[in-house]
């Protein structure tokens, strides 16, 4: 290797072509910026969660149960706290309607009855400050989320009715462990003293209540205690969560979001890589003569390769550095965009590790993308210096194959690293490859089709402009990929979102219920129904709810199963959970039997094993099939059942859905409550009905569909901000590539335009030829990108969301038209050489090898 020659030539080439190579490198910069930004956010959240996990949980250990803790559990816990000399705290948590006395408005709220020094770590901050201790007093007071006051049109000092209890709101909660951001909008919190819970009268048989017990103890005591007691506690159907587990679950839930965002960034990166390869390919074409001269002067092929390899590294360095620099901006911006979704408060900051990763990734991938075309320079025959048209026979393709393999492996590894699961990573990489292949295939097919098109009668500029799409050195592939892929991503995202939102709209449409009443006691059903009918509400469904637990499955007792610590997470959850059973002899419209059959009224009812129908998902978690036996503990009474059918349930519907359905004639005598589903169109009437319900039946909770939709909408808006930012970065990448491609096209088409001018073509004619090419290219890319996006959106909506597909025609057309316009303007602008003096420009073109 001749190091002196390599470095000197690389330096000179960088001086001459550095700006161009930097432009190519910047094609990847936005993709890197997305990844650096998303990684920075993930790291900040993870670091903050890690630092605050104890305060977020409010304890070293949290026990959760759907029923009051059994004496054995209480005794074990007492043993621990006594040994540690620490206190414990409890929360009794349940949902209830909160009625603001002054405004008369109601809202389903998350009631937290606090006993003991909760939180054991961290603090609850209030506005005005220092009010939290007052909850422990005899006076019935409440602290609430400020969103609840807004929704109830209430202020501090007003009174809230919770069931039979009347509480004065003394302030708002500004910080408390556990809940964050938009979750408080879904279910705003009310904190009251635990001593006042009973007075609300809201804890009744069948009520959905969570009992939480918070413990603190030194690690030396806690760890062995957990090891010894965990299975016994789990067997009592009590959930155990340590700080580490809580931290992990927070990390995981937020990690999924950032990983999906990262995949969009990766798509931008791959698109940028294609831009790099396309740009460098043209650069290489221009360098063939120079390299031939160098070879004839005695340069060895490996020295030439090393020289241009250095330039590829430079390009990669630019991509990595510019991308990471922009990524810092994204890092500062993203936490503000998704603040409502973050589990912790995150200060916008700069994450050095993600910047280093970004530079490394840019350097590696950009170099690989650039190296493919550069390999051609190693095979330039020196004879080309004497005969310009001399083309060497194709050399061995091993180097190219190795590069393609390295690129494929790198992109696949990046997908797997970025994706929330290996399957998603593989699917993403496969999908990406498929879309790019289809775009490239469509470009090749279009070029081949245009070649056969006979345009003899058409004006010269049209024939010439169209012919530029398939002539040698055309940019059809690069432009189709650049515009087509960017548009594909944005259009697909929009079409999928449109359909999912529309489905929500359908579900709350004129024929759908919009109000669900829970916890209606048997003796209240007739009166509540009477009230609903009196107010003009149409009752569409009523279902009985019976609380139960799983007693045994697969011939083994649930408690025995739960002792096994190696149990699958889903199976454990399905064993432990509290079930809401219902009974009916009629199959619901929204449910589909996927195995077995529905029973007839006479089929085995009242005789054990009783026939039951299970939702397919829960059956899978429990590992049961049609014909298997399942035992239930229905509030102390054991009932044996046999699985008759498995159902698919549409959980997205605003309706009552059940994991387990019994036939009539078995559960009628069990303690139960009723759920009523109704529709009442007028929003004011609905609000009044809810207010009166709370007054008359304090234990009944009402869920208004519009409230849920508003909360979901707020969450969706928050997500959209981040997704849109990423999609915008991808589209911007496409535009950068387009600018680079346009600049390249200008160089390539320069001599041709100038020759036309020399032969007497007007500047207008030359411009028309160039514009026709630009518009035709943009139109092709837009057509292919939009077409593919419709197919992808249809497949996603149909098979992932299992919804009917309705293409959002007008937005997609508008997006396509806007892209066509921008693509044409940028493309045609890059070719504007029409006004230059032919002689001067021709000479320049000769010298720069653009001819």
């Amino acid at each position: 290797m001749n190091g002196r020659f390599i470095v000197a030539m690389a330096r000179r080439e960088a001086r001459a072509s550095g700006r161009r190579l930097a432009l190519y490198g910047s094609c990847m910069a936005l993709g890197i910026a997305s990844l650096v930004g998303v990684h920075g956010l993930r790291t900040s959240v993870s670091d903050n969660v890690s630092a605050q996990a104890q305060r977020l949980l409010g304890a070293d250990l949290r026990l959760t149960s759907r029923a009051p803790f059994e004496p054995e559990v209480e005794a074990t816990v007492a043993g621990l706290t006594e040994a540690a000399g620490t206190a414990s705290a409890r929360i009794t948590r349940f949902g209830s309607m909160a009625l603001a006395e002054a405004s008369g408005r109601t809202r389903l709220a998350d009631i937290n009855g606090i006993d003991g020094p909760y939180p054991l770590y961290g603090e609850i901050r209030t506005e005005p400050p220092g009010l939290y201790e007052r909850l422990a007093g005899s006076e019935p007071v409440a602290l609430v989320d400020s969103s609840l006051l807004i929704q109830l049109d209430a202020t501090v000092g007003d009174h809230l009715l919770l069931g039979l209890g009347r509480f004065q709101v003394i302030g708002t909660i500004t910080r408390a462990p556990g809940t964050f951001g938009l979750r408080t909008q879904m279910a705003p919190r009310v904190f009251i003293g635990g001593q006042h819970v009973e007075a609300t009268g809201l804890i009744q048989p069948g009520s959905l209540v969570s009992y939480l017990l918070f413990l603190s103890a030194p690690e030396a005591l806690l760890e062995p205690w957990i090891k010894t007691e965990r299975s016994a506690i789990a067997a009592a159907r009590v959930g155990v969560e340590t700080v580490e587990e809580y931290q992990e679950s927070l990390d995981q839930s937020f990690g999924v979001l950032t990983r999906y965002l990262g995949l969009v960034g990766l798509a931008a990166l791959a698109l940028g890589g294609i831009g790099v390869a396309a740009g460098v390919r043209v650069f290489v074409r221009e360098k063939l003569d120079s390299v031939a001269v160098l070879r004839s002067l005695g340069a060895q092929s490996r020295d030439v390769l090393a020289c241009y390899g250095l330039l590829a590294l430079l390009l990669g360095g630019v991509a990595g550095c510019v991308g990471s620099g922009l990524g810092v901006g994204v890092q500062l911006l993203l936490p503000r965009l998704v603040a409502g979704l973050l589990p912790v408060q995150v200060q916008s900051g700069i994450d050095v590790a993600s910047i280093v990763t970004g530079v490394g990734l840019g350097l590696w991938l950009a170099t690989l993308f650039a190296a493919g075309p550069l390999l051609d320079l190693g095979r330039v025959p020196p004879l080309r210096a004497l005969r310009r048209d001399f083309v060497a026979a194709p050399g061995p393709q091993r180097g190219r194959a190795l590069l393609i393999f390295a690129l494929g492996v790198s992109l696949l590894a990046a997908s797997l690293w970025q994706a929330p699961s290996p399957l998603v990573g593989l699917s993403f990489a496969g999908g990406l490859a498929a879309v790019l292949t289809l775009l490239a295939g469509a470009a090749a097919a279009a070029a081949a089709g245009l070649r056969k098109l006979r345009l003899r009668g058409a004006p010269y500029w049209l024939r010439q402009g169209i012919a530029n799409l398939f002539r040698p050195r055309n940019h059809t592939l690069a432009t189709t990929l650049a515009i087509g892929f960017g548009l594909f991503l944005v259009s697909t995202l929009h079409a999928v979102q449109f359909n999912v939102r529309q489905q929500f709209a359908i579900d709350t449409g004129s024929d759908r219920p919009n109000l669900i009443l829970f916890d209606v006691q048997p003796d209240q059903v007739a009166e509540v129904e009477g009230l609903l009918e009196e107010r003009g509400a149409l009752i569409s469904d009523r279902a009985h709810l019976i609380s139960a637990r799983l007693a045994g499955v697969g011939g083994r007792e649930a408690a025995d199963w739960l002792l096994d610590e190696t149990l699958d997470k889903n199976f454990r959850w399905a064993l432990r959970r509290e079930y809401r059973l219902t009974y009916s002899d009629v199959q619901r419209d929204s449910e589909l039997i996927v195995a077995g059959s529905w029973w007839q009224p006479a089929d085995g009812a009242r005789e054990e094993p009783v026939p039951v129908s299970l939702e397919a998902g829960i059956a899978e978690a429990l590992g049961v099939r049609v014909g298997d036996r399942v035992s239930w503990d229905i509030q102390g009474v054991r009932v044996e059942s046999s699985v008759w059918s498995l159902r698919e349930v549409d959980w997205g519907r605003f309706a009552t859905n059940f994991f387990v359905t019994f036939p009539n004639g078995v559960l009628e005598e069990a303690p139960q409550s009723t759920v009523l589903v109704a529709r009442l169109d007028d929003a004011n009437a609905r609000a009044e009905l809810q207010r009166d319900l709370v007054g008359l039946f304090p234990n009944v909770s009402a869920l208004d569909a519009t409230v849920i939709l508003n909360a979901l909408d707020a969450m969706r808006r928050e997500m959209n901000k981040a997704v849109r930012l990423m999609a915008a970065l991808t589209l911007a990448t496409g535009l950068v590539i387009l600018i680079a491609a346009a600049a390249t096209a200008r160089t390539e088409r320069r001599r041709e335009g100038l020759l036309l001018r020399t032969m007497g073509a007007s500047s207008q004619m030359v411009r028309r030829v160039m514009t026709t090419e630009a518009v035709a290219l943009a139109a092709l890319a837009v057509a292919v990108g939009t077409g593919l996006s419709i197919v992808a959106a249809w497949a996603t909506v149909r098979f992932v969301f299992e919804l009917p597909f309705d293409p959002p025609a007008i937005p997609l057309l508008a997006l396509a038209a806007a892209t066509l316009l921008v693509g044409s303007v940028l493309g045609a602008g890059g070719r504007a050489d029409a006004h230059r003096r032919p002689l001067a420009a021709l000479r320049e073109a000769e010298q720069t090898g653009a001819a």
Binding site: R4, M9, S17, G298, S301, L386, Q847, T848
Partner: protein, 232 residues
């Protein structure tokens, strides 16, 4: 210095016809320090012969021995190393590297010399500047090829060709792209420098006037030598 035996070059044709014979059994000997012109009309095989003599291409048949080295025995990189050390080139279309200044173009062959023969940076700079001064471009050293006239570009080409002090210099129609007056000046310069340095010079041309200035003229027609000696 150069010896060819039965040098033959054929190119396959795509349409199934027999291969096209461009050079047909050429035997040629060129002595050290000799100046010869290869003269012939277009298509006579001149440039093909030049390419084979310089090791830019490989013959279909026959052999080339250049300065004692059998080109057949060398691979492409071996031949490149030989060119870097012992060969200079002047091209019809000048073939300056467009992204390098005149000075840097002349430096390139010095940078390509093997380590044991490569001058230090300062010496290389001095030699390149001296050569450019010698061809009358001492004040245009920082100009890019696009900023030079055709004659000036060929002067840079000549300076570059002599930079590595080659033992043999090949010139492919060195005046072919220049007007008569400029062409004469360039030819003067080429012969003058060659005399000073004592390089073996092989000029390929179809210009009788230029060929006549060489001591020996090898005439080529349809790939065969049809004459060898001074032109009348």
């Amino acid at each position: 210095m150069i010896r060819t035996r039965n040098l033959t070059q054929r190119y396959p044709r795509a349409d199934g016809k027999p291969p096209l014979t461009v050079l047909d059994g050429v035997d040629l000997d060129v002595n050290s320090g000799e100046v010869i012109a290869v003269l012939g009309p277009s298509g006579s095989g001149k440039t093909t012969l030049l390419g084979l003599l310089a090791g830019l291409d490989q013959p279909s048949e026959g052999s080339v021995c250049l300065d004692g080295a059998d080109l057949d025995a060398l691979d492409e990189d071996g031949r490149a190393a030989l060119r870097a050390a012992r060969v200079g080139f002047v091209f019809q279309t000048f073939q300056l590297l467009p992204t390098l200044t005149a000075f840097e173009n002349v430096l390139v062959p010095l940078e390509l010399l093997p380590a044991d023969r490569a001058p230090g940076s300062a010496e290389a700079d001095r030699r390149a500047a001296e050569l450019l001064g010698r061809v009358g471009l001492g004040d245009r050293m920082d100009h890019y090829p696009a900023q030079l006239s055709g004659g000036e570009q060929q002067r840079v080409g000549i300076a570059r060709a002599f930079a590595n002090q080659p033992r043999i210099l090949f010139a492919d129609e060195p005046t072919g792209n220049l007007d008569r007056e400029t062409g004469r000046e360039i030819a003067d310069l080429l012969f003058e420098l060659n005399r000073e340095i004592g390089t073996t010079l092989v000029i390929v041309t179809h210009d009788h006037e230029l060929a006549r200035r060489a001591g020996r003229v090898v005439q080529l027609d349809t790939g065969r030598i049809t004459g060898d000696g001074p032109l009348p």
